[in-house]
C-alpha cells in the first residue's frame, strides 16, 4: 500500500504533502505546543492571575512546595483512586451491557441507541441533575435508600468525606459506561460465531467460551479503551468541579481540580502551571506504558 500511494501527480511537487499538513501543524504549534511551553515557563515563576505578565522567576519552588504539601499528595491519591474506579467500573458495566445487547432480541436497535444517551448528555447538565438526585433531604437517591431501610439514606452525600467520591463516581460511570459499551459492542462483531459454536459443541461452558474465543478478539479494543478512559478520567473537570469543587476536605480533589483551585481560586498561576506540568507528564507516562505493554504483547503474540 505504501509504494502505490506514494506517487505524485504531474502537476505537483514534493512539497504538496507539506502544503496539506502545513495549516494544521501551524495551528497545533500555536494552540497546543506554545501553551505547553508557556505552561512549563510559568511553572518556574510566581505569577498572579491578576497580573499574568508580571511573574518573577522562582526556579523549582512551586514544585518543591507542591510535593511538600499535604493537599497535592492527597490529590495524587484521589486521582489514582478515581481513575482506577472509573476505568474498572466503566469497562465492567460496558462489557456487561455490550454482551446483553449483542444477543438478538426484538427492539435491539432501539435499545442500543437508548443506552448510549448518557454519553450524549452535556456534563454540566449531568452534574446539575446528579447534585439534585444526591441532595440530602429532597434527593431521590436518599429517598430510595430510606425506602429500602438503609441508614445511609439520611447522609449528605456530596458533603461527606466518605461518600462524596462514590457519589461523583456514580455520576461519572453513568455518563461514560455507554461509550465503553459501544466500543466493546463494535469489537464483538468481529467475534467468529463458528468458533463460538465449535467451542460450545466441544462442551465448553459459557465462561470458557468467553475466555477462549470472545475475549482474545475484543482484547485489543478493551486495551485501547482502557487507555482512553484513563486519560479522560485524569482530565475530567466539569462533572467533579460542579458537584463538589474537590471537597469536602479534598475528598474529590483530583489533579485537574487542584490545578483549577490553585490558578483560579488562589490566583496563583505559577503553582497551577506546576500542577499542570505534572499532570501532562503523568498522562504521557501512561501513554508510553500503554504502548510498551501493547507492543510487547503483540511481539509475544507473533512469536507464538
Amino acid at each position: 500500500m505504501a509504494a502505490a500511494s506514494g506517487r505524485t501527480l504531474p502537476d505537483e511537487g514534493r512539497w504538496t504533502p507539506y502544503l496539506f499538513i502545513g495549516p494544521v501543524a501551524a495551528y497545533l504549534l500555536l494552540f497546543q505546543f506554545l501553551p505547553l511551553v508557556q505552561e512549563l515557563l510559568l511553572s518556574f515563576t510566581s505569577t498572579s492571575l491578576l497580573n499574568p505578565k508580571g511573574g518573577t522567576w522562582v526556579g523549582m519552588e512551586n514544585y518543591r512546595d507542591l510535593v511538600a504539601g499535604e493537599d497535592f499528595r492527597q490529590s495524587l491519591v484521589v486521582t489514582a483512586a478515581y481513575t482506577v474506579a472509573c476505568v474498572v467500573l466503566a469497562i465492567g458495566l460496558g462489557l456487561a451491557a455490550a454482551l446483553l445487547l449483542d444477543t438478538p432480541f426484538r427492539g435491539r436497535g432501539v435499545a442500543r441507541a437508548l443506552v448510549t444517551i448518557p454519553w450524549a448528555a452535556p456534563p454540566v447538565a449531568v452534574a446539575l441533575v446528579f447534585a439534585w438526585i444526591f441532595n440530602a433531604q429532597y434527593g431521590v437517591f436518599n429517598f430510595v435508600l430510606r425506602s429500602f431501610g438503609f441508614a445511609s439514606g439520611t447522609e449528605n452525600w456530596l458533603d461527606s468525606a466518605h461518600l462524596a467520591l462514590p457519589a461523583v463516581l456514580i455520576a461519572t460511570i453513568w455518563q461514560i459506561f455507554p461509550f465503553a459499551a459501544v466500543v466493546i459492542l463494535a469489537a464483538l462483531q468481529g467475534v467468529s460465531s463458528e468458533l463460538k459454536e465449535a467451542a460450545t459443541i466441544d462442551g465448553a461452558g459459557r465462561l470458557s467460551v468467553f475466555g477462549a474465543v470472545t475475549w482474545p478478539t475484543i482484547q485489543p479494543s478493551v486495551a485501547l479503551l482502557t487507555l482512553f478512559l484513563t486519560i479522560w478520567s485524569i482530565r475530567r473537570f466539569d462533572l467533579i468541579w460542579l458537584m463538589t469543587q474537590g471537597g469536602p476536605i479534598g475528598a474529590t480533589n483530583t489533579l485537574v481540580i487542584e490545578l483549577y483551585r490553585q490558578g483560579f481560586v488562589y490566583r496563583d498561576l505559577g503553582r497551577a502551571a506546576a500542577v499542570g506540568m505534572i499532570g501532562v507528564v503523568v498522562a504521557l507516562l501512561i501513554t508510553l506504558v500503554y504502548f510498551y505493554v501493547t507492543l510487547r504483547a503483540e511481539r509475544a503474540g507473533d512469536s507464538r
Binding site: P35, L36, Y138, A186, L224, A273
Partner: protein, 278 residues
C-alpha cells in the same frame, strides 16, 4: 438445554436489558420531571414521579427571567464554529497522512496522537495567559479557536482512518480525467467518506456545545456566556427555584440528545471505522 430454562434465561436477559435502559434513562427523566413539578411538591416525600403538564409555564418563565435564549445562541455559535473550523483544518492533513509518504510524517502522526493525550484542563492556565496577551479573552471567536485545538487531532485521526479505506483506483480514474489533487480530495474522496465526516462533525459539535472549563475561564462578559457556563452558575445554588434550573437543564440537554439520536448511526459507524482503533 430445555425449552423452559431457555425461556427463563431469555426473560432474565430481557429484565437485565430493561434494568440497564432504566438506569441510563433515569437521571435525564428526573431532570425533566423536576422541571415540571410545582414549587409545593418539589420537596415532597415521596418525590413526585410523573411530570405535571400544568407546569409548562416554568419554561416560558425561564425564557423571560433568565437569558437562556442568548446562552443557547452563544453555545450554538461556538459549537457550529468549532465544527466548521475543525473540519476545514483536518481534511487535507488527513488526506496527506493517508496517501503521501513524506519526511516528517511519523512525527506528525506522533504529534497528533500526543495532543489527543494532553489533558485540556491542564492547558487552561497558559491559554488564559496567552489569550490575555493577544486580546482574545471575552470573544466567542477566541473560544472557537481554543476548542478547535482540542478537536482537530482526533478528527484528523478519524478522517485519515476513513480515507485509508478508499480504494486508490477511484482516484486514479479521476486523475486520468485531468483532475488536480485538491479537486480529487474535494469531489472524489470526501463524498466517499461522508459517514466519517458526519461522525467527526458530531464530535466537534458536541465538544463545542458541552465545553465548560475554557468557556468559564476565557469568557467573563455576561452577554457572551455559553449555556454550559450559564447553567453551571446554578449548580448547588438555592435561590433560584429548582424547577426553573432543571427547565434550563432540559433546554440545554434536549437539543444535544435529539441531534445525537438523529445521527447516532453515523457516529457509531464512523467512530468504529477509524477513530478508537487508532
Amino acid at each position: 438445554m430445555t425449552g423452559a430454562s431457555h425461556g427463563a434465561g431469555h426473560l432474565l436477559r430481557l429484565a437485565a436489558v430493561l434494568g440497564v435502559l432504566l438506569a441510563a434513562a433515569f437521571p435525564l427523566y428526573w431532570m425533566f420531571v423536576t422541571s415540571l413539578t410545582t414549587s409545593a411538591s418539589l420537596f415532597a416525600v415521596p418525590p413526585r414521579a410523573l411530570p405535571d403538564p400544568s407546569q409548562l409555564g416554568v419554561y416560558a418563565e425561564a425564557f423571560q427571567t433568565i437569558p437562556v435564549a442568548r446562552w443557547l445562541r452563544n453555545s450554538l455559535i461556538v459549537a457550529a464554529g468549532t465544527t466548521v473550523l475543525s473540519l476545514a483544518l483536518a481534511v487535507f492533513p488527513a488526506y496527506a497522512m493517508s496517501r503521501f509518504r513524506f519526511r516528517g510524517r511519523g512525527a506528525m502522526g506522533l504529534g497528533l496522537f500526543a495532543t489527543q493525550m494532553l489533558p485540556e484542563a491542564m492547558l487552561v492556565v497558559p491559554l488564559y495567559a496567552i489569550f490575555a496577551d493577544v486580546g482574545l479573552l471575552n470573544s466567542l471567536g477566541g473560544l472557537i479557536l481554543a476548542n478547535t485545538a482540542f478537536t482537530v487531532p482526533v478528527i484528523t485521526w478519524i478522517l485519515k482512518g476513513a480515507i485509508d479505506g478508499v480504494p486508490l483506483d477511484i482516484e486514479e480514474a479521476a486523475r486520468m480525467d485531468g483532475a488536480t489533487r485538491v479537486g480529487i480530495v474535494l469531489s472524489v474522496v470526501l463524498p466517499l467518506v461522508a459517514p466519517s465526516l458526519a461522525a467527526t462533525s458530531v464530535i466537534a459539535f458536541f465538544h463545542g456545545w458541552n465545553e465548560y472549563v475554557l468557556a468559564q475561564t476565557l469568557i467573563s462578559q455576561e452577554g457572551l456566556r455559553t449555556a454550559s457556563v450559564g447553567l453551571a452558575s446554578f449548580v448547588g445554588e438555592l435561590s433560584t427555584p429548582v424547577h426553573s434550573v432543571m427547565a434550563i437543564g432540559v433546554l440545554y440537554t434536549l437539543p444535544a440528545i435529539a441531534f445525537y439520536l438523529m445521527v447516532q448511526r453515523y457516529v457509531v459507524a464512523g467512530m468504529t471505522a477509524g477513530s478508537v482503533k487508532g
